[in-house]
């Protein structure tokens, strides 16, 4: 009875797994195309052919690319993430320290962005053409056009330099009081919310406007239904798929935002770890971070697609 929906969901999951495999190969290939020899780089002045070969072996840099990929992948799947080349610490430890911070940041941001952006988008659609709609749309186009670091810069100038309400460019997670924690998180989270909400406002507004134009909304109007009944009972259930899709798309900009924001505010998260790894060319660490980020992102957008499928009675109720 639900066979079509099940089929579509399985298909969607298969594509995500394919993407992950694709990413793992791509990341491995790209990071394997190193122009310079990492082992020699690490040894610096002290390089001898023997020392380099020995180091290569300990780093797992010898063998054919396929062998290296397979051993890396099996290690990865078993939770053995290898060693960071630069800090000489197990990658798993580094991740364990940083991951919770990033997840906290992203979760708080999402929890604030989704209700904020959706209510703005839906209200703008319902009051289409009003000053509210124009203001919300203008804000959305402004925010979508500006890079995260510019939003951060402006926010810092306003709140830290002019108003002196918040600390500039420093993040101290070891704050003692709730107030301190709030102050510490206010700017990174605020900037992330601003930078990731624009897409969602624009897309949810467009989705609701499209739905409000349909014949069944006109028909419900002609049955005497008033505005909020039209919106909540008739329009929104049909706009679930595009709205959820807009949330998923915003996740992409949230992810980009996290990378920039953690760097600006010196926030000890996974993204900062990855940027540092790229700067120091710590390839195993880059590989792991890329896989983790893509994995998270894929889980989110796949979940969004599954919700969209489940919200359509044509697919679930045949």
């Amino acid at each position: 009875m639900h066979s079509l929906a099940v089929k579509l969901i399985l298909q969607r999951i298969a594509i995500s797994l394919l993407t992950l495999l694709f990413v793992s190969v791509a990341v491995f290939l790209i990071t394997g195309l190193l122009p310079s020899d990492l082992a020699e780089d690490l040894l610096g002045q002290a390089v001898t052919p023997e020392a380099a070969a020995a180091l290569r072996e300990t780093l797992g840099l010898d063998g054919s690319p396929l062998q290296r990929y397979v051993s890396w992948m099996t290690g990865f799947l078993q939770g053995d993430l290898g060693m960071s080349l630069v800090s000489q610490r197990p990658i798993a430890d580094l991740i364990r320290e940083r991951l919770p911070n990033s997840v906290t940041l992203a979760a708080i941001t999402m929890a604030l962005t989704i209700p904020f952006a959706l209510s703005l988008g839906i209200l703008a659609a319902v009051y289409r053409g009003s000053w509210f709609d124009r203001a919300a749309s203008a804000m959305a186009v402004l925010l979508i056009s500006i890079p995260e670091f510019v939003i951060a810069t402006v926010t810092v100038i306003i709140f830290a330099v002019w108003l002196r309400w918040l600390p500039a460019l420093s993040f101290s997670p070891d704050a003692d009081s709730i107030w301190e924690v709030l102050r510490a998180y206010a700017m990174p989270v605020g900037v992330l919310v601003l930078s990731s909400c624009s897409q969602m406002i624009r897309l949810s507004r467009a989705a609701v406007i499209d739905t409000l134009k349909t014949s069944y909304i006109e028909n419900a109007t002609l049955k005497g239904a008033r505005r909020w009944r039209l919106v909540f009972r008739h329009a929104l259930p049909n706009a679930v798929a595009p709205i959820v899709n807009s949330i998923a798309l915003s996740m992409s900009s949230l992810l980009g935002g996290v990378i920039i924001i953690e760097t600006i505010f010196n926030y000890p998260g996974l993204a900062k770890l990855m940027v540092d790894a790229v700067t120091s060319r710590d390839m195993p660490l880059i590989q792991t971070c890329a896989m983790l980020f893509t994995g998270f992102y894929l889980i989110l957008i796949t979940a969004a697609d599954i919700i969209a499928i489940l919200s359509n009675p044509r697919l679930t109720d045949r």
């Binding site: 790209i30 810069t153 500039a168």
Partner: protein
């Protein structure tokens, strides 16, 4: 002026907002072209012993953390930011749109295989992919152009493919197929003229995304490398001046925002028949 006349003749109402956006884009385009003749000092020259100096007659847009002239650096930065982004957009657009139209028009196995691969590819967040490519390939300008092209070609492909599929299902294309027309004619004469407006609008949006991505990379120190600096790089260099609200941080930010905002608003306000994604 001729552009305005062109729009008016076609019955498009050009609002003051649209005209302003157009002017900003034209301004930055001209600046990027003529920058070497407009700058007042060589970009590496230290002209002021005072770093982070404010706006003055000596340094029209202040000086940076080393006392270099921001006006000259922003003008030359425009060349890098706009040049790299434009090259990336054109490369991504040409490759993506060409394959998109071919796949959308001929369909079949070619389309299915390519589209599935692209589906998998777009599952990777943009900035992440850029980081990985730059980590391996370095931050030279050709690598930057290539990496933004690789990152955005799939979305150009998807957009133009879906447009081509919509148009291809229409009877006039079916009639041309029934006549026995070849793929080249179908794409050039039947499909392309009907999707070119939305495709160009989408490429405008892609250009903005590339500017944003590139600035982000440079801001992380992974884009254009010193001593050259694009706008993102200028913000990065001068971040320490942020706590004083230095002009050297503010002006590159304004430069980026004015360009991207102008393009986005121009495209948002394009007449429906150009911007609309569904062919009429």
């Amino acid at each position: 002026m001729t552009a305005l006349a062109f729009f008016h003749r076609r019955g498009w109402i050009v609002s003051p907002l649209t005209a302003a956006c157009f002017a900003v884009i034209l301004f930055w385009g001209t600046v990027a072209l003529l920058a070497p003749w407009l700058i007042r000092y060589p970009i590496g020259e230290i002209v002021d012993y005072d770093y982070f100096s404010p706006v003055s007659s000596l340094n029209w847009l202040g000086s940076d953390y080393m006392g270099r002239d921001m006006y000259s650096r922003i003008l030359m930065g425009a060349r890098l930011t706009i040049g790299i982004s434009l090259a990336g957009t054109v490369l991504a657009g040409v490759v993506g749109v060409a394959f998109g139209m071919i796949a959308g028009t001929i369909g079949g196995l070619f389309d299915q295989v390519l589209s599935r691969c692209i589906d998998a590819f777009v599952g990777i967040p943009n900035l992440l992919l850029a980081l990985v490519i730059v980590a391996a390939g370095g931050s030279s300008i050709p690598v930057l152009i290539l990496s933004v092209a690789v990152i955005f070609a799939p979305s150009c492909y998807r957009f133009s493919r879906s447009m081509a599929v919509n148009v291809g299902a229409m009877d006039f294309v079916v009639a041309a197929r029934a006549r026995g027309e070849g793929i080249v004619y179908l794409i050039r004469s039947e499909v392309l003229p009907n999707i070119i407006g939305p495709v160009l609008a989408d490429m405008g949006l892609t250009f903005v995304k590339i500017v944003l991505l590139l600035s982000g990379l440079s801001f992380l120190g992974l884009g254009v490398q010193p001593p050259a600096a694009d706008w993102g790089g200028l913000v990065r260099e001068n971040m320490i001046g942020l706590s004083y609200g230095a002009a050297a941080v503010v002006f590159p930010c304004i430069a980026i925002a004015s360009l991207t905002l102008a393009i986005n608003m121009l495209i948002d306000n394009l007449p429906r028949r150009i911007r609309d994604r569904s062919p009429q």
